[in-house]
Amino acid sequence: MSVKISLCMIAKNESDFIGNCLKSTLSYVNQIIVVDTGSSDQTPEIARKLGAEVYTYTWNNDFSAARNHSLEKATGDWILFMDCDEEIDPDLGHHLLEAVQSKDCDAYYLNVKNLLGMDHEITFQSIRLFRNLPQFRFKGKIHEQVSDAIFTHSGPGRIGRLNVTLLHHGYNPERVNISSKIIRNVGLLEEDLQDRSCLDGFYLYNVGIEYIRQGQYQKALENFIEALKVTNPNSGYAPPLVNKLLVCLIELGRYRDALDQLAYFQSLYPDYHDLFLLQAACHIQCGRFSLAADSIEKAVKTPHRNPRYPVEGKIFNQSPEQLQKQIEPYLLQKAKNFQLSVCILAKNQEKHIARCLRSVGEIADKILLIVTECSDNTLNIAYQMGANLYRLNRSDSFAQLRNFALKNACGDWILFLNGDEEINSADIAALVEGLNNSTFIGYKIRQRTFYAAANEGNYRDQAVCRLIRNEQGLCYKSRLIEDIDLSIAEKHGDTALSYLPVTVFHYGFHLKSEPEEQVFRRNIYLLSKDSRDQDKNPLPRQEMGLQLYNRGKYKAALVQFQAAHKLYGTNIPADLFCGMIKCLVKLKKYDEVVLLSKTAVDLYPDYTDLLYYQGFSCLNLGLLHAAKECFEKCLQLGSAPWEKYAACSGVGSFLPHCRLAELYLQQGNIDESLLHYCSAAQITGGADMAIPPMTDIFLSKFHPGRLLEYLQDHKLDTIRNICTAAMAANKKNCLLESLALWERAMEKLITTRNYEQYHNIAAAMFQILSDIYTEANQHNSGDTQLQSIREFFSQQDNI
């Protein structure tokens, strides 16, 4: 007598899937039971057409009850249980028929291969084939399982493993609207949790999985932790539970916690390949690339795949090989033969601190994070990324904090950073190289401060002493200024100081983590205390001038600079000249600039900034010939050497080009003018400045259509530049030309497929609309219809 198999399933609105599902089973099963829980589509008709017995069942939010209803209807000897979005892999289906002949087993695990789209898949094992016995029934409202009942009644010895694969499409975003499915599932799960009757580990694990799918890692983690408490580490779902718990920790930025947990679980599951990859992920997030590389290597060397572990093989969508490739450029080329402590001063920098820490992860042997007050998440982030935290009492001197760091640092060298800075990763090799055979006591490195997030070519460079040999007797004195170089020079002589070609990026200006006004007041307060204590020291005055200048208080800044000037007496430093000159320029006292800059340039002939301001003042005074001479010299010199002078970007390149272009335009020499604008635009950071006046020239002097040709001929037709030109054209009331340019930018976006550039297009689009709107309001202030659309423009701020 042949053994009969009944296929049992429940269905609701599955017309997309059920046909393929049933067809895949037809050659193996003798009866098909479909319990329809309220379809409003063609599901029952399709099922009937394929020979199924269809029963309607009133849905009461309980998957188990519905499923058990289908089991009641089955008359076969065995039950194959499937979901509508599954299919039997046709190559392996015949094993089903062999399995049901066996007398040794009451149930079988089948492989369920979850197809997740983009070739991504996870395979689990699940009991789907079992004898049709009344005691084998489902339990749990969702992720219902029959295995409990089978374990209880038959014991694990009578459950076999079968090489049959069910292909599951239900989590393939290419085929299913997943988010809707998840919300429904979580709703059911929460409801179920309330009655607590079926609270078991596997169940909590599934709740967590649903939360992960929704991106709610905190909630997922809570469920995994609960699940872990009641889970036997040997049970089938324990390894994937551990895996997902670690994924949550990593997603939540809790790298240190994850590593602690990993240390324990790796002892439990030493051959669990994916755990090494998770370890690598933690290290990568913290910038510790060599450690990550070690972990990946271990993962690769653990090829044996224990069937207990879910086969994922990828971590955050990347294979070990991809990870390896990704971190390769960051690995140290040469071993370092010194120990490095990194000291970071930070306050409320949760947005930046991770970037800062990551930039030194590879080279730091110890990281000290020093704060006095901190009210945001900075400390947590830093702790999780491996920093040692030091919280000091409120102090009105940064010197105190920095000296504390000097005392507590260990190793051979100390690197100082602020929370809103990072080391340029390309310079790490130079740093190691420099320190490996160093005979110096301290190094100045280049601090590059950016002014605007959108334009990386706009910055100011200066040399700061940040690398210090860990020696007794060195200390900071000023409450604000980083003056350790003075201490080094005092103790070891000027020759103990040198320069390293290492750049620190500083994002302080445009990423405001503290109210600017507050920082400014504090700095002025500290400096005034400094200058009271050391009334012969010009440095605090000079620094105060700088702070005032940056706040736009040029008159007051000039007063401070002049006071510093007096204190210096004869040996006036170049930076002080530059500060005074910049104040005078802002105050439009061009005569005085010309006078002062002549003296300064004689003393510091290679300080380009001075020459530039001289030229700028001449231009404004109408001394075109002198101006031209200055600007041409600026171009010859290029940027001033950062080791000697604080220098702004562009003064040796695009700024003088733009000014020369203005100058030629004044003289009516349009060709020459354009040539200079063009040169300016070709230099990084210069385009934003040069393109608008260039556009003006084309709009007023030529056919506007030629602008684009010109940009193309000079390889300036980037999407960003065309958008800049479009905005400039609209500002000149040339709307049509503006739109034509914008349209070209759009075409270019489509043809080049350079979709990251879309934000420029969007920004130009909203700028054009917003300019029209502003103009409309100027002429019709208070018009109600115009007011009613204001909201649209306020929403676009974040573009």
């Binding site: 609105n13 409003s40 049509l736 759009m746 489509i750 689009m765 409309a776 115009l786």
Partner: protein
């Protein structure tokens, strides 16, 4: 009626001033119930008398702004085994009536739900369906609760938590929500008052917030409606029976506000709870269609078609899972100029239930577009619309521009022709400049019929001889000359008489060349640009963009003013030359800094951007921000001109 044993079904109604409805209602139900009890809460008309004539026992009571109270009052009088209740503006379809007794005798249920079919507009196609308990066992412990949108279910479930409340599958027709219902606005205002007082007592009642939201939405107070929907959603229980309706109506409200991004999200959230609710897919489809995301719109409308058996728990617009979705699909294919697909889908819409004339006309026009010749199109229509009445067929031919055929077909109809057909025949004759026939039709109608004087005047203008016999020429000339300007309230902005504008608009439709000649002779030249502009705006509102463009071109030719530049510019935007249109409107802003000029400019420029972004989406559908920006631009445009979409075809 026999009173030997307990009557089976007692119909209970409360009424006030329903003389226009009560007969239709009682007539449809009186044969199927055993007693009719009516509580009149203060009618000033013949309602109680009419009810009595139909065999109802009429009681009188005071109206205390509380529906539950009134319903419980009349319920107490009922002796039947079952209570059945209706409103006066409802009607039983015969199938429902015939099944009523059998259902009452056989069911094991404690209460029965009926499907209420609400007619929302004058055309029969717009129907909205919802489920409501209308029949329940007569038990003194069951009583209505809630001053408005009173409910019986809570008390039934309190008495017996496992009481069976079953869907009867039967329909009740409800006319009260029709937009053209005379007392709709008044009733709605009354409801708002009641709901507001209910909220004053119980400010966190989610169902009241929901109902107030609906009433405000129907009354056009969108911002207020949104606020109350929001509160309803905030307070609502996850299992509330009206939750699907809340998602649907809240989304529709956001769509009307132009807040497309939020509307999409809300609908999506709704779908996560009710994944087979076609109305939510439909609303999403509409949003995507408005924002030019046609591929996504197609997908949503196709999804609607899947759920062809409507879940009775959902309030649903009739047709969203069939003919309405098909029409939307046809619309999108039209936009994409896929005429074959558009035609096929419009045909499916017609075959799947829509019986409205507009649908037929759309089918006809699409057929004409697709076949590119009239005779094939007409064959197609004959083949697929075999049941069309001859009058409808003639109207269809006329509206398709087949004047010759329309005229021909009228001759085959038996005399006398219906008035409407006369007018069509007459207009066809005018189009064809067949003055002899025109004269004949004119002579067969009474000159007092409403459209005749205008048409006669048009004949007169286009052909002096045509009306000789019908009316004195001089008289007509005088009449026309006199009627041009407003007499009662002359205003600078609207100097023309409405009747004259009607006449002028029709005239220019028949023959613009002659019309312009005529206007130049009778109108003060200073007024001409304004006339053309007003006629142009009328053509614009009727979506006759080509005519509008011609008229605005005329107004601009007469007078170089901002208003003419801006309208002519906007027409250019509509008819395809977007940049030229923007140039013209920009010029209008340069001439005059009027805010309207700028509104037009912003509209045109956003339209241009929308168009380009749409192009980008076609080439690269995967930049997420673009969708967001398209939604934003569409909402912005809607706020600018109160109109969703510039029809580019």
């Amino acid at each position: 009626m026999k009173w030997l044993k307990q009557p089976l079904i007692s119909l209970c109604m409360i009424v006030k001033n329903e003389e226009s409805n009560i007969l239709r209602c009682l007539d449809s139900v009186k044969d199927y119930v055993d007693e009719i009890l009516v509580l009149d809460t203060g009618s000033g008309d013949r309602t109680p008398v009419l009810a009595q004539e139909q065999g109802a026992c009429v009681f009188f009571g005071r109206w205390e702004n509380n529906f539950a109270k009134a319903r419980n009052e009349i319920k107490q009088q009922a002796r039947g085994e079952w209570i059945f209740y209706l409103d006066a503006d409802e009607e039983l379809p015969p199938e429902t009536g015939r099944s009523l007794r059998q259902l009452a005798q056989q069911t094991k249920a404690e209460a029965l739900q009926f499907s209420i079919v609400n007619y929302t507009s004058s055309s029969d196609t717009q129907k909205c369906r919802g489920l409501n308990i209308r029949m329940f066992k007569n038990n003194p412990n069951y009583y209505f609760e809630g001053a408005l949108h009173e409910q019986i279910a809570p008390s039934i479930l309190r008495v017996n938590p496992s009481a069976a409340i079953v869907c009867s599958g039967l329909e009740i027709l409800h006319y009260g929500y029709s937009f053209d219902h005379p007392r709709r606005i008044q009733k709605n205002q009354r409801n708002i008052t009641i709901l507001e007082s209910m909220l004053a007592e119980n400010p966190k009642d989610d169902f009241t917030h929901y109902n107030l939201g609906v009433s405000l939405y129907v009354g056009g107070q969108l911002e207020n409606a949104k606020r109350h929907f929001q509160l309803a959603k905030q307070y609502a229980n996850k299992k509330s029976h009206y939750l699907p309706a809340l998602y649907r109506n809240f989304t529709a409200c956001l769509v009307d506000l132009g807040e497309y991004e939020e509307a999409l999200k809300l609908a999506q959230e709704g779908l996560s709870h009710f994944p087979d609710y076609p109305d939510l897919y439909y609303l999403q489809g509409q949003i995507y269609s408005i924002t030019n995301l046609f591929e996504l719109a197609l997908e949503r409308f196709k999804q609607c078609l899947k759920y062809n058996k409507l879940n009775p728990n959902y309030i649903s617009m009739d047709g969203v899972q069939s003919f309405l979705a098909y029409e939307q699909l046809a619309d999108i294919y039209m936009h994409q100029q896929k005429w074959e697909d558009a035609l096929q889908h419009q045909l499916k819409a017609v075959q799947n239930g829509t019986a409205s004339y507009t649908s037929f006309l759309r089918l006809g026009l699409l057929a004409k577009q697709h076949f590119n010749n009239s005779s094939d199109a007409i064959d197609f229509l004959d083949c697929h619309l075999p049941k069309l009445r001859p009058e409808e067929r003639i109207k269809l031919l006329f509206d398709m521009g087949e004047h010759h055929l329309a005229l021909q077909k009228t001759e085959m109809l038996p005399q006398p022709l219906p008035y409407e057909i006369y007018i069509i025949a007459l207009k066809s004759a005018i189009y064809l400049k067949n003055w002899q026939r025109a004269k004949m039709f004119l002579s067969q109608t009474s000159p007092l019929d409403k459209e005749i004087p205008t048409l006669a005047a048009i004949c007169h203008v286009l052909d002096k001889d045509a009306v000789k016999d019908h009316c004195e020429t001089d008289q007509l000339d005088q009449l026309l000359a006199k009627s041009i300007y407003q007499k009662d309230i002359p205003s600078e902005e609207h100097p023309f008489a409405p009747l004259f504008l009607d006449f002028a608009f029709q005239l220019i439709g028949f023959d613009d060349f002659e019309a312009v000649n005529y206007f130049e002779t009778v109108i003060n030249p200073l007024d001409l640009p304004l006339l053309y502009s007003q006629l142009g705006q009328r053509a614009f509102l009727r979506k006759n963009y080509n005519l509008a463009e011609r008229l605005f071109a005329l107004s601009l030719a007469c007078q170089k003013k901002g208003i003419h530049y801006r309208w002519f510019g906007l027409m250019n935007v509509y008819t395809g030359d977007k940049l030229e249109g923007i140039r013209l409107i920009r010029h209008s802003c340069n001439l005059e800094n009027d805010s309207q000029n700028y509104i037009f400019l912003l509209t045109a420029v956003s339209d241009f951007f929308q168009h380009c972004l749409r192009h980008l989406v076609v080439n690269c559908p995967h930049i997420p921000k673009v969708h967001q920006h398209l939604l934003g631009l569409a909402g912005f445009k809607k706020k600018l001109i109160g109109k969703e979409e510039i029809d580019c075809q």
